[in-house]
């Protein structure tokens, strides 16, 4: 399942759905998902509702997204993570950088 991204809330929110497996094989796809970011975007949501597992390279990819977009004033959230995936985010203290819902 590929990564899909869509705009919501009149183009202000970009939602990136990373699919079932979030690991290094998604490096390219994930970067493309926020590559040509609309000018109105003020928030990026990473939707993990379908994600079965993630590894440290996925964590790296999330942080790299923030670094790449550091010049834009954006807020970020990670949403709908399943319990075992949420545990990885918690262990890595990602709540400090992302709003985890």
């Amino acid at each position: 399942m590929e990564i899909t991204s869509s705009y919501q809330n009149q183009g202000k929110v970009l939602v990136v759905d990373v699919g079932t497996k979030f690991d290094f094989s998604k490096v390219e796809d994930f970067r493309n998902a926020y590559g040509e970011l609309g000018a109105d975007v003020s928030h990026i949501t990473v939707d993990l509702s379908r994600t079965e597992y993630m590894d440290s390279s996925a964590l790296g990819m999330l942080l790299n997204m923030q670094k790449t977009l550091a010049e834009r004033e954006l807020t970020y959230s990670i949403e709908n993570a399943r319990p075992q995936v949420a545990k990885i985010l918690k262990i890595s203290r990602f709540d400090k950088k992302f709003d985890i819902k």
Binding site: S25, V27, Y53, S56, G60, N64, P83, Q84, K87, I91
Partner: protein, 558 residues
Amino acid sequence: MKILIVDDEAINRTLLTNMLYNAGYKECIEAVDGVEAIKKFTHEKPDLVLLDVVMPGLSGFDVAPKIRKLAKGPYLPILFITALEDKESLVRCLEVGGNDFATKPFDRHILIAKIRAHLKIRALSEHIEQQNKALRLFNQRVAREHAIVEHIFSHAIVNRPEVMAHFDCFLKPAETFNGDLFLCESSPSGGIYFVVGDFTGHGLASAIGALPVTRAFQELSQQGVSISEIISELNRILIKFLPSDMFMAAVVGEINAGGNRINLWQGGMPAVIVPAKTDLALRCIPSRHMALGILDEHELNTDCDTIQLGCNEQLVICSDGLIESTTQEGEMLLEEGLVRIVKEQMQTHGKIESNSLFLKAKEHCAASSFHDDVTLVVFTSQPIKTPVSPKMDFGLPSVHEVALDAQHLKQPDILQRVLQLAGQCEGIQAVRSIIYTVLSELFNNALEHGILKLDSKLKADSTGFHQYYENREASLKALSHGRINIRIESLPLKGKVLIAVEDSGEGFEWNKASTVGRRHSVHDESFGRGLPLLHALCERVWFENGGSKVICLLDTKI
């Protein structure tokens, strides 16, 4: 065709016999009076009776009802031959059981024509009789087969009562077999998976699809996979098993252990309702997808909705049988009508109860029975209390070992295949995702650092991050030597999994390396979090062979 001629006068009998013989009815039998007529009728079983009215002893009027009584099976024509011409006598002929009459002296053509007509009716009647017999046999066979299939169904499609207890269900099939389906199973992480399905049509044909769906659902539930994986698998099965005009609308959901968050995939079903007393608070979540069994794998969208339930909030799921119930005027209830009833029920009772919701919807419906199966499932937010299945308590211990050489490592899906292997271990379901993460971590470390000798520090800035993965691809492509051994040992009885990954690289100074991880506790570096993550996820992590072998011990109990 055998014809019985009853007449006390020999001349009449001979006349009739000859006439019939010439007309092609060569098998005629004669009786001289009523008593002999009854006797011969019983023995010879004629197809038609020609009966004189006036005879000594029993008259034709006496004989006709007796013969009629003896005649079993198809239509038996009794034709009176009579010299009487008064209306009453002729009417009586028909009243006592005759089918027709011919007056003496009879016209040959008319009599033969009448006999032909009546024998034709008898032939038709015989034909119908045979068909009825065949139909009766067929019905008996179908009833027996249904009984067998029903037995199989009732044993195959069973929800565990302790899981079922979390739902308030109303299931009403339109026929013996249900085209609707409700399945629920506890998830290894303490929640519940469920499926509310509605196959096209109803009856046996649509129920047949329920078997493979049930089996797959139960297996996947035990593995604790994501909803999107369940959706993909059910879709694959339905496309494979069902003819193309059959499919299954479905709501598939996963309730978390707290019972207040539901991941929901809906395809082709009426909107699910989170009831409330007011328009503003009531939530309707419509289906976003097509039913399962229609789209090919690459067209299928497995996006889910996540629904948060507040304290005592409910989720109402129904099949279209309910909202398509119609009034006498042919007006359907539809989603709007159901929402209206839900609101009324909330105002009167403060909660939704499936049975009374059904009864209210039924009041709307004119006909006493619904045309389609009706399924109503209500879940009230509550912490899930389900005992784990015995398979998890007494899982089989197992060891999986894989030795991968350079050719294997080049396969793009190699990690997925190794993960799949690990996923087959019994007793690991509760931590399946965690095991995937650990294994993925160990594998990538072994490959990227042990064999490809890439430097993580490259990942420090954004350009380098992608440079790193480009380097990885290039080095992997050029790789000619290298080996990674993976050993996954599952010990369900102890609740442990041991994962060892060894590579053919030179190893590394792991003491130093793990401190590197700790030094970067700032948590905003996009590298160096692999090892700390392993330490946090595993009960124990240790290194052997100078760092070229890593062993992780995991606890499989939450």
